[in-house]
Symmetry: C2
Subunit: 206 residues, 2 copies
């Protein structure tokens, strides 16, 4: 564990965790790398090797105790705790995100929403008050927020990102269809469903 773990390995852990949660819901208590692999379309060797970066979580001949493995993965990913998140942008997209229950169900709590449109500020969005962008910096700093979601038009996304980074945000989930440039040590993940569609159309025969 002294060497750095490849990001591609990290990116699969949440997938494993999600599958394990599903197995729990189905009432199962033990699983194997083969079963997981079959479900996920990943080779069992890959799963074992990925997990082995963090320790030996399984038992030979038996497999993995699901509850234990989930707990270990949660700790590795640092999602055994709850995280507070800010959302920037209260348009259609921001609105959908604010209403989506899936975030807080899995430990990510939106604690404030920001927008710069005069008519939106002060209004309610879901259970949140929409705050003016001018207070974004201060809010992030004061509440020591590390994670933000950007749901503003592409033209404003970089500027918002700059503000967030300056205020100390280290992880950005960007819904704006544009690449952000951020300093070393700040992580960005992109969500643009159209990119996924365009990737699949390549394979669609005439």
């Amino acid at each position: 564990m002294p060497t750095e773990i490849p990001d591609i390995v990290i990116s699969r852990l949440p997938v494993y965790l999600r599958a394990l949660e599903r197995l729990t819901q189905e009432g199962q208590e033990v699983t194997s790398s083969h079963e997981l692999g079959r479900r996920l379309g990943i080779s069992s060797a890959q799963i074992r090797k990925d997990l082995s970066h963090f320790g030996g979580f399984g038992k030979q001949g038996t497999g993995y105790k699901i509850a234990f493995l989930k707990e270990q993965l949660r700790q590795v990913l640092k999602v055994e705790r709850e995280w507070n998140v800010v959302l920037v942008g209260a348009g259609d997209l921001g609105s959908a995100i604010a209403h989506y229950r899936g975030f807080s169900d899995r430990g990510f709590h939106i604690i404030s929403v920001f927008d710069n449109s005069a008519e939106k500020i002060g209004r309610k969005l879901s259970t949140y008050d929409i705050e003016p962008m001018s207070q974004l910096d201060e809010f992030v700093t004061e509440h020591d927020i590390r994670i933000a979601m950007i749901a503003v038009p592409a033209e404003h996304a970089q500027q918002v990102a700059d503000t967030l980074v300056k205020a100390g945000v280290k992880a950005i989930l960007n819904y704006a269809p544009i690449n952000l440039s951020v300093p070393e040590g700040v992580h960005v993940q992109y969500i643009d469903p159209v990119l996924h569609l365009q990737r699949m159309t390549y394979y669609l025969s005439e």
Copy 2:
């Protein structure tokens, strides 16, 4: 071009295309692999190699004519035409997707929405009438739909996927937080923002 092109290459083409569209909006007409790489955080060599799979689109000493490169990429990805898509699931998530303008802006038109909840059927969702699930199969077959989006609860997603596949759908954008198993030749892409968040928290220091 006789050899199969790696999927990882395909997955980057939409990103290039998006960046090129942005450059156009900014009034630029020519670019280089270096400039693109800088913007995207990708090495220029990678961009050149990716593009070279499909032909020589650039000119030495000059770079790439943006309009031409966009057109080429659109053809490669088969997004120079418009695509019809069905959406399954008219809950919060499906509703947000139906209202999202970004799809049809980029050539993907939702032409029908399906749900199995008696109270939703017949209602309007955005500009669409919500149709009963029982007609999904027939509709997809009749209209020769190749692409579907799934926005139903995880428990029902596999069953919906099976129906879609049987009716001839070849590409599924799955918003349900679960892995789908589909036969060879059917493509699935996943959207689960929580996975992205969990991937980033790994890197957040205490």
